[in-house]
Amino acid sequence: MDREQLIEALITSRRSLHKSPLPRYDNEAEGGCGVIGMAASTPVRGSHLLQALQQMRNRGNGKGGGIAAVGLDPEFFGCQRATLANDYLLAVAYLDSSVRPQVEATCIEPTFIVDATFQVPTLPDFRSIPGLEVQPPDVWCYFVHVRPDTLAQFRQQYDIANSDDTAIEDEIVYQNTYSLNSAFYAATGEKRAFVLSHGKNVLVLKMVGYGDDVVRYYGLENLRAHVWIGHHRYPTRGKVWHPGGAHPFIGMHEALVHNGDFANYASICSYLAQRNIKPLFLTDTEVAVLMFDLLHRVYGYPLEYVIEAIAPTTERDFTLLAPAKQRLYSMLQAVHLSSSPDGPWFFLIAQSDVRKRAHRLVGITDTSMLRPQVFALQRGVATIGFAASEKQAIDAVLESLSREDTRFWSCADLYWNARGGSHTDGGAFIFTVQGDETGNTVLQCVDKFGRVIEPDPTRHPLNTHSTDGHSLVRHKATLQSLLQQELTAKELFEQICQRMPAWDYDGVQAFLDVLEQTARSDDERERAIETLTLLMDRRYSIGTMKRSCLLAMFDGSFARLVECIRDDRSPVFACIGYGDQLPEYQGMDAALLIDARAYPIEGNDSLARAIVTLYQRGFRRFIVAHTRGHRFIGCGMGVLSDNVRIDVYGSPGDYLASGIDGAEVIVHGSAQDQIAQIMKGGKLVVNGDVGQTFMYGAKGGDVFIQGNAAGRPLINAVGKPRVVINGTCLDYLAESFMAGDPLHGGGFVIVNGVSFDEDGTLRDMDTPYPGGNLFSLASGGAIYIRDPHHRVTDDQLNGGQFAPLTVDDWTLIRPYLEQNESIFGISLVRLLTVDGSSHPPALNYRKIQPAGHKALMPEEAWVRREA
């Protein structure tokens, strides 16, 4: 029986499921959420997922949370590994335990042979979890396989011959779940029991509460799994919350969580209804995974096609595809475009690939970049990959993991953002855990097109080499004498840079030990921190070591220095943490070190408000250590905050430096979303990347970004912001820019299109701007883009035009590039070098200025007799 016939048969077989007419498609208000997913080559414990979810609580409102785990540890269930691999794990949630015998008798026994049952353990009293108001359901797991006579009867009834047993069994399980849910969990009636998950080696648990409370209540801290996804929900309708509405929702062998809220729920329901699929839980997330299941299992599309159907490639990205891809994608879009979710969304899917015995995490982003997402990968002896709403959630997992398991360390090798529907990577990433030929379990990350994402494989992680004891002693002695010298931090850093390629991790750790030991006085500590900071920020050759491992080591050393400062209680270099009384300003040039860890991320007691209070008391110099998603750092100081300097370490949260008016904020690492919005003046430096809507509505300031910006940077900016972005942006850079004439006090953005490789060498990107919308509808300001090969073309502009770089332009931007060099070590000479030879600026940099678009300037256009 060929695929087409099988599809027909499966779809027809569902007709009998829906006897009632189409319900009114009145879906529940979804809205927003926080999501996190991880996949690891070695199973990881649920307690690490809990850390991430706990830190992201502000993205939910406690009215729904859930997790899914794939690639489960048989020990938790007390069953055989083979059972997990071969049987369907039918997990049923009982809101009313009395109904269990009836459910088993009518919906389980007739269809399945039950090989084992397992009741998921729970805390004795749900009220012991603060804030949990609703009793979570009791969960029973049934390890089942389909009765042979049920299978035979299905075949006969729908005339399905010569086809794989598993395809039929899957469909039987799917339909059985639907019947169970219809009978015992009517969406608008009595809710007594429903199926949480039914795939092989997949478990979903969810309830009315926060996602991390799901882990606590069901004792999942010690459950090990290869793939985890977790979710907090933020629903806005209904006084009576029910667990069936929480995420994840299931297809067959996959579970999906979703951040966002798409607008075409009704049309997707119509599309599914035409294939005899009717949703039960009235949320857009459910139809998303029903769609996934239809395309993947029933139609048998490879993942690439599924992704294209959900997040289609359009506009300029489509024109840049190879002709064969264009033909293929046109066909997919012709059938599926109207059913692709329209609106903000970010999907995370945990999937059990039964046939290939693999476990998978898939992250797909929408084509307009309306939801934040970060992906990450760390490859060492074990490998772990992530996709999440915020970087700080990923860092929370790594921190938690690395404390327990030395195969992991606190910093990922790679972090990146995605643009859905792009021709470069499709905005979708797939992490697959699978056994290889030698019997090891490995993880591989690919993009939508199958290209492998991989950190430099020639570099080795911590602990795989070691230096012998004698040379370490000599090494330390040399370092001690180096540190006795009267060197500034910069000089010391330069000395270390020269030596580092020859060192290994032991050598670096020895240096750090010596640095900490010799940091006794305030001045020595200050120099130590400055040196460490340079080591964290700058790029330089590191032999065959991994930069992420070094960063983890530097973080550790920095943490110890902070502890010393805290214990020492020096008046000039004081340290406080949450709960300490905020000090009075003594009138000296004091630097205040703040340990951010226990501070609430937002609110009246937050770190951000503490900084404002301290500022109002007179403090001007702040060093903020150990940020863990803390938001609004630098906000609230008001007008003219000159002379303030804030150095930020760790994983700062959203809205950092928004609205600053004179202060200097320096981030030693990457920043997240909504950075420097409405910034009025001052200076911002980020030694890494920034996220979405960077500098939205900004009015001024000098800003330097070492890496990339995500979607919509500088949108609606006015006045005179002056920005250097050394990497590139996802898209919509400077849309509606209104920043006057840069040559007469207005604003501009310089984009260099370069990035450092892991050995500290600056490399040109393939194109300095890959998106389709550059400087759209801008009426003021300019972009100076480093594009010697003219890769950026007119079709990427929409209201802007290329103009030659004049002497005045170069006089204007040169000082900013010089400052860029002194901040990041990105050499101006190198920027002016193309293919090995030095070129004049006008051949390297192109200016993009407003074109006097008719829509914006109708009067002027009339006067100029524009067509």
């Binding site: 208000a29 502000n58 809220d261 609205g659 919005q677 509505g697 209104m738 509808l777 009426s779 300037m857």
Partner: protein, 444 residues
Amino acid sequence: MKLNGKTTEERIIEKHQEALHHGFHTWPSLVFDRPSALGDARWTSDLILSTWMQAETGKPPDNGLEYRIGRSGGGFDALAFKYLPREQWIPEQEVVDTSIPLNRRPYDRHISIPIPWYGGGMSYGSVGEQIMLSRAKAARQLGTFTSSGEGGYPESLAPYAEHVITQVATGMFGVREETILRAPIIEFKYAQGAKPGLGGHLLGDKSTTAVAKMRESVPWVSLFSPFPFHSVYSVEDHKKHIDWMKTIHPDALLAVKVSTPVDVDMVAMGSYFAGAHIIQIDGGYGGTGAAPEIAKKNIAMPIELAIPKVHRFLLSEGVRDEVVLIAGGGIRTADDIAKAIALGADGCILGTAELVALGCTRCSNCERGRGCPFGLTTTDPQLSQLVDSDWGAERLCRFYTSLQRQLRTILRHLGLRSVLELRGRTDVLSYSRRDGQHGSRATH
């Protein structure tokens, strides 16, 4: 050349001013028919002229001008009050309270206004500075508020800061920590009823040098505020946005202004969860005269349907008494205000009505740079001199006073001692159909 100490320009402006003021005074008392080209079915010539009279006298007209309803045949014009018989009216000597709180949550600053309305957002650029000053002065005089709109916060308004709401709109024009810190109430404008989903527009010839300076943009270029906040595409982003403002100014109250889509009740609920104190729903009858024709009055739900929908949803969710619901969009008269409250709002926003009090005749030329014959919706240096802010403030004060008088009368005739008691009392409303017949059931 100066004559009597004034330049020619000053004399011309003075002459025009006198002519206009003479007109505002004389037209309402004309003995022959109403001017047939004045007004439309919503703002009839009677309503316009009676507003002018109230702005001059401080009381409703007693010469036969209709000052309660228009002739649109729908909306508030199809609603009437079922007054009690005379013997049940509250006597004149007894106090009738028209004040409302603007924060019903148990925490945060508690602000009350003595009249159940405040001025809606009209940006610098859409109107001139002297209009904004008139409104600010009147707001202070009467203890209520006016909103700066989305064009920035002129320095001349700073002395009145305690009565000025600052607006954070999607273009972030003029939004700075400095202005946020001044304002007792911060208003997020997500959408406006005149053109839901279309963002803000200030066409090129209104984007004068002064406006561009305030917004830090390029003069004479059309300014578009995007339709969404680009940083808010999901409800948890909205909460983050509100938390941002709270971090800058923890004591300020937060208002969220939205239009009236089909799921406006969910939107209100989401705002409640995010921490807003005031939810302002802006219907399609009002709004800027500069909205595109295709949008005006054609998009989103009429306000008289949206108010009870939101009111009842918030009631069913058990949060109605923690949130202040303000309705706006074409509120013209004391009767409109009372009807909106009876449908379920706590109070109202006035926009167009204030401009009419200052002389607007609804000629709909607002989007042109020099289109307003009365110097209201313009920042043109000459035309804007036609309105003196003290004169403007006086007129608004008298207009408000007249509205308050009428509101008290309505409450007395309904047997109510406080405007708070009127909220949600749809049972005191009757629905009259176009053919003039009155239904006996209250509207739903």
